[in-house]
Symmetry: C2
């Protein structure tokens, strides 16, 4: 199963909006017979790829698969039927389907055909790989992964006037920033606010150097259309920059559109872009995972609104004190990070936690 | 040497104001011949205890000792002479003496007598055990270890009015608080401000359950003598509570003194107790390590004044936002924690770092 998880990881950033899936087939003597993983462009599901590579050796064998085999006909035929037809005797699935409407159907069909089925091996790992898919398939909204880079005492920038505008100010070190590139690579879209654009002039591109099928969609919340036309984001736009606004200023909209920026006029909530409406829109565009890299106001609004599914906070081991810019305004009640995981990134470290489990939402 | 360090640790909280020292003696064939550690009350230094337990087997053997053997006559005779007299052929010391005036003297004397001497094995571990001693022996002031317990975003208490006065409010969990008891056990004195006393009514006692030779000295900074007579600190005082003040209010001083509290009237700095003067006073009372458990104002003053040698920050994985009480007011420049160490304490974690190395100050 660990090998199947490794295979599944090959599909990261390639198979979205499908889940990442890996499959290993052992022959009847327990020897490796075939391997496969799902890549969107090649259409075939991991099981079908693995069965093809196993050929006749699949007969009487065991299939390890990181997600319950599907039992429906989409772009491809049902995998459960393919496994049955190949004569596989036993299927071990890491987890059932996240969609409660279809979960268990693949298992049921296999069992009806006399195949021995077990589920739950390496379940936590398998679920984690498809958190975005689980959230999206059930709610049609992206999983929201909030990234924050701050000092040990929760500051995201020095006091006002201590750094030049329109230049990035890095709180964290190189190792943390490389990890952020990996997070961008794993995401379908990244979100920031126009204040951050004005302040730091970031590119928000995926500079991981890793392959991706669809370009990273860069989304800017900009209710009043203050987006600077000479910002790096506008200069590098190629239909992959979306400005979400409630402004109807046609001149500004045209100026942005002409430069390859998509402008989406969305429903307003107290004069600002409605975040739930934006997430609905992104979900409709098959954004499974949205990485947020926002400032104080949006960090607070997203957390207070219960809109964050997972949070990852990079901490630089420095103390700036309370004159510096806080990462979060008042939150009442406090937000608790349960089962927090801690990782080192050079001199920095990160604390990450799941605030809402899309897999258990799916189960409800 | 690892065994010698274990032995040295037996002296924690017992041998202060002497350093903790452990010694292992191997006979000429490399077999364990004797062990010893220094305990203040028994007077003998670790080497002498180990030599006694080794007896004749020390002759031609090797002594592993966590600190350079002394070459002076204090309460006991010089250890270098004892090792020479016992016929030890080789001495391995983890580190030289922290006092640059005497460092190397023991080694020199041993070498003059034909003993092979090596130094520097497990040096970092050995120095860490005697950080307080190294600071105090050279500067006659205690090592200042700052403890902070805060949320992930640097808050030490919820917004004003969110918790009852004169009741402790715990940010961190049980595992962190147990570790704080260990820090108190390892310290000679603990420091807090009268605001914390009024706010939380803490006891500030060592509840580690571990043996200590001298009672933990509980020091309260109270420039205006606002110490509540019905506080737990006053109620449990037995000459082990020191109120440091600049007030000359004889009535208040008497009221406290009658209740077993020591009141020290110290030099003022802008109307408040001078922290350097307080540390001088504590050093004169053989306080090697002072643990600070203070609030926002004192945390900031201590850090900004460059008065902190080591910091240990316990973080609870929760986010309170900027309405809650910050751990530090503005610090400019920011304080950098280099080579920070991260530990887990249940759901919490701690970040600790050395801000000023008393061993390298000693070398200057």
């Amino acid at each position: 199963m660990l090998r199947a998880l490794e295979l599944a990881a090959q599909g990261i950033s390639l198979c979205s909006p499908n889940p990442v899936v890996g499959c290993v087939i052992l022959d009847k003597n327990g020897a490796l017979a075939g391997e496969g993983w799902h890549e969107y462009e090649r259409r075939d599901h991991a099981e079908v790829v693995a069965l093809r590579s196993a050929g006749d050796r699949a007969r009487g064998g065991t299939a390890y698969v990181t997600l319950e085999p599907c039992n429906h006909t989409g772009r491809t035929g049902p995998c459960s039927e393919a496994l049955i037809a190949a004569g596989v005797k036993r299927v071990v699935a890491a987890t059932l389907d996240p969609n409660s409407l279809t979960a268990g159907r693949g298992v049921r069909r296999l069992r009806e055909a006399g195949v021995v089925v077990e589920a739950g091996l390496c379940e936590a790992e398998a679920r984690r790989m498809n958190e975005g898919f689980a959230k999206w398939i059930v709610t049609r909204r992206p999983l929201v992964l909030m990234k924050v880079a701050m000092t040990l005492d929760g500051r995201i920038a020095p006091p006002a006037g201590h750094h030049k505008q329109r230049q990035p100010y890095w709180i964290t070190g190189e190792a943390s920033r490389a990890t952020v590139q990996t997070l961008r690579w794993m995401a379908d879209a990244v979100l920031t606010g126009v204040d951050t654009v004005i302040e730091d002039d970031p590119m928000m591109t995926d500079r991981s150097g890793m392959p991706r099928r669809r370009p990273l969609l860069r989304v800017i919340l900009d209710s009043a259309l203050r987006m600077p036309l000479d910002s790096k984001l506008v200069k590098t736009a190629n239909q992959d920059v979306m400005v979400a606004t409630v402004s109807q200023d046609q001149k500004r909209i045209e100026a942005l559109t002409e430069r390859g920026v998509r402008v989406e006029v969305l429903a307003s909530e107290a004069g600002r872009v409605s975040l739930p409406k934006l997430f609905e829109k992104l979900g409709a565009e098959c954004v499974l995972t949205l990485l947020t890299e926002t400032g104080t106001r949006l960090n607070t609004a997203l957390l207070a609104g219960g809109l964050v599914d997972r949070i990852k906070i990079f901490c630089s081991p420095q103390i700036m004190g309370s004159d510096a810019v806080p990462a979060f305004r008042g939150l009442s009640p406090a937000v608790n990070l349960e089962h927090a995981e801690i990782e080192r990134h050079g001199n920095d470290f990160s604390v990450s936690a799941l605030l809402r489990d899309p897999w258990s939402e799916a189960a409800r």
